[in-house]
Amino acid sequence: MNDLEQKLRNMSLASPSADLDRRMNDTLESEGAAPEPPFRLGQRWRFLVLAASGVAAMFILVQFVARHRQQQPTVYRIEATGRLRQLLLEPPSSGDSHAPFTVSGSTPRS
């Protein structure tokens, strides 16, 4: 270290005020006033994201099941009796004698 450096080093420096020491002391002493540590905040965020994902997954599942149910054909079993039964079991050999048998109509409402 040369002479200039030594002289500079020997100069008297201004010191921090007592107010800074007090503020620092208060800050380093405080327990409750300090904000939550990031890892706790992180845990909370993870929990919220997980919960939101669960709700979204449940919603999608319900939608999927509902749509799947609607697409399945509804089968009605009708017990035919009398003339209709005879026609079904023993269809006429000649198509000319009777008109083609068709069933149409809306599904019954329960």
Binding site: K7, S12, A14, R23, L28, A34
Partner: protein, 161 residues
């Protein structure tokens, strides 16, 4: 933050408060802003929840950033980093250099030169530590230091103190 980490921070502050303050004032030129910068950095450390492994360079780097923000906002340098007392300005018992003159000459240097001199002389940083802090090459730091000291020496020798 754990009690151990808080104790580490407290011990670091107590042991380095003078150095941190000198460094902050050398950048802000304002004692109040310098103290705010120091306090703010330690608050930030507490919010982090843990003490960084490289505490010393981390704190100095953070104080530098805060102090530069303060300087950009105020743009006025009013306070000296040296203790300017009536005794220090008297000729007989005064130190070799007058604090107000040295302060004035330091202000004529570039921020890089001035900062390097402060870190080296008053904070006992090595060139390598300064290079890491400033994220520049070692030779750049050495160059700032030598050039700054040369300029300071020329100024101090030119003006009768």
């Amino acid at each position: 933050m754990s009690a151990k980490d808080k104790e580490t921070l407290r011990a670091f502050y107590v042991g380095s408060r003078q150095q941190l303050y000198t460094y902050a004032v050398s950048i802000t030129g304002n004692r109040e802003s310098a103290e705010d910068a120091i306090h703010s950095v330690f608050e930030q450390l507490l919010r982090m929840g843990h003490s960084p492994a490289d505490l010393r360079p981390y704190v100095f780097r953070s104080i530098r950033n805060k102090a530069l923000d303060c300087l950009r906002r105020t743009q006025t340098r009013t306070d000296s980093m040296f203790e300017v007392t009536a005794a220090s300005q008297q000729s007989e018992s005064s130190p070799p250099f007058r604090p107000d003159e040295v302060e004035r000459f330091l202000q004529t240097l570039s921020l890089d030169e001035r900062e390097t001199i402060i870190l080296k002389i008053y904070n006992n940083f090595t060139f390598q530590e300064i290079a890491n802090l400033r994220q520049v090459h070692l030779s750049t730091v050495a160059s700032w230091y030598r050039r700054g000291l040369d300029e300071l020496r020329a100024l101090l020798n030119k003006e009768p103190l």
